[in-house]
Symmetry: C2
Subunit: 344 residues, 2 copies
């Protein structure tokens, strides 16, 4: 018999694991936030909300970034902050229109580092073609070397070609990813662990709004899109399975992961399926349209290594199953806690 640990509410405290994007993050939100703040828009728990303003549906989302180190191979906190919110809008079926930028600076932050991050924000916003239109800056007392936190919120209009709805997912649908997985999270963890791979391991942070628009405009029946950030591919697939009440079968051999990333994950003891990405899409598409969607992904600079990785099934109970290279099967679960603290 397994006894469930009881917690004393009056002494309970926030733990790092509450921020990992896994099971504990879900509980924090469901037990502490939703009961008080609940309203129809918030309770859908997607990456954003759709708000009608004078009759026009406006997609609205927010994300905070606390990554350390602030700069890393392939990006920095500023690029993450732009791409993260642009991508959250895009996977909601929005055409991202504008970003807000809320920066909290720690006293002592070198001004030239701030300047590099701001320049990166500007470059990334230009690359995504989504301007930063409003901002706010606060400064907090020095505690360490001088860090920073960034919040970006974003707004956009609905793409007329978007009919994204978990409820439309049915057995037979095909699951694609837009490229290699785990590069972002592994890059951050490698830098922190002081491991230098003499290699191409770098964050994949990239704005995906153009890629998403091409997918939505290609005529394929795209049913669901998500950027697998905290919690990785495993988190997204577990979410789809639980909320659409379907099973998903993934072929390990089809999941694109570079050999460097595979090696890094082994050294760090991490499951690459649970590691964060910042420039990748998970896409569920109708069976007959899978190759059309894959072609669109392959034609775009951010989708060259896209792959069909699995399919939706009617196996019961609803689970995510990985068929391993050696023919075995294992259940893919939403990560529990904080495998990767402050990864984004």
């Amino acid at each position: 018999m397994i006894a469930r640990m009881t917690t004393n509410r009056s002494t309970e405290r926030v733990m790092l694991a509450h921020g990992g994007g896994g099971e504990l993050t879900g509980r924090l939100i469901e037990e502490h936030f939703l009961p008080k703040l609940s309203n129809p828009a918030l309770s859908t728990l997607t990456d954003g909300a759709i708000v009608p303003i004078n009759g026009t549906p406006v997609v609205f989302t927010t994300d905070s970034f606390v990554v350390t180190p602030l700069e890393f191979p392939g990006g920095d906190i500023g690029r993450l902050a732009v791409c993260g919110t642009v991508n959250d809008l895009a996977v909601m079926g929005a055409i991202p229109t504008a970003l807000s930028l809320g920066i909290i600076l720690e006293e002592g932050l070198p001004m030239d580092l701030l300047d590099r991050v701001i320049a990166s924000i500007a470059r990334s916003a230009q690359e995504a073609d989504v301007p930063v239109v409003t901002g706010d800056t606060k400064v907090i007392e020095r505690r360490g070397e001088g860090g920073m936190y960034i919040n970006t919120a974003g707004v956009g209009g609905l793409h007329p070609g978007a009919h994204l709805d978990l409820a439309r997912i049915v057995p037979g649908d095909v699951v694609l990813v837009s490229g290699t997985l785990a590069d972002h999270g592994l890059t951050i963890m490698s830098v922190r662990a002081g491991i230098a791979f003499d290699s191409d391991l770098r964050s994949d942070a990239a704005p995906l709004n153009e890629l998403v628009a091409r997918l939505l405009e290609c005529g394929a029946d795209i049913k669901f899109l998500r950027d697998p950030t905290r919690g990785g591919l495993a988190g997204v697939l577990a979410d789809i399975s639980a909320r659409a009440n379907v099973s998903i079968e993934i072929n390990e051999a089809s999941v694109p992961i570079t050999s460097t990333a595979r090696h890094a994950a082994e050294m760090l003891g991490l499951d690459p399926l649970s590691v964060a990405n910042e420039g990748k899409l998970v896409c569920v598409v109708a069976h007959d349209d899978a190759s059309k969607a894959l072609k669109i992904l392959h034609a775009h600079r951010h989708g060259k290594q896209a792959a069909i990785i699995g399919r939706v099934t009617d196996a019961s109970p609803p689970l995510v199953e990985l068929r391993t290279r050696i023919g075995g099967r294992r259940i893919v679960q939403r990560p529990y806690g904080e495998e990767l603290p402050r990864i984004c």
Copy 2:
């Protein structure tokens, strides 16, 4: 001769004073942010931006909150975060529609304190009738007792009665405030200094969207609205003067300040005109409509102590001048640096 201190860019660091909402904050934004991020919407430097989405103008704003302590007489960080963004939207002439909520929690934060803050966010959002529709939560490592930072962004549609434009301000216009000044900042500073006033000194944090709507609908020619947060009344008036190229004359005896606040400001060595408010409006109205606007303010629970405090003049050069109680005159300037760190 005054030599201007030169700064070595490579060793320059962020200081607490950069976050005070004064001269140094302005320089940080103008020298480090705007040159790279500049676009027409951002460069107006108002409290938000107006973004067209499918032909509908959407007002969009963001604000981060880092106040310590997290709870104080009259409010807490959650109430500030809701009211601050609702008010920023309202003074832009928007009808606030929805808020986002980005929370950064420090490991070790007591869960019951988090629960109180979330409950306060929910109550304040309900009071303002503006729901929180999307959110994000991150956790950072423990450094102190366990704190939290909150970012709220907000969206809204334009109020059809709003014709707010600094360029419409002309000599003869009248300046009003919606109530007593400096209560919020002095409350925070008193708590931090360990000074207990056996009194009614408490933060004025309140959502002003209903009050603003009444003003915009009353038929008075309202030319400009602003909530005097960081930098206080002095900061707002200095901004108006500089940007509208007009002078403003304020009568000290007309500025509503409670005797408790006056006493607290003296003890703390602060100028109440430069202290932050979180539930007050500064309003510039056409001369002939001043009494109509005042009546509307007086009729609302958040405007009972509203007052006409001065007028716009054509004195040259453009300055803000205070006529003191004893008949003297002094120039009112935008505060320089961080009089009140982490006040909001």
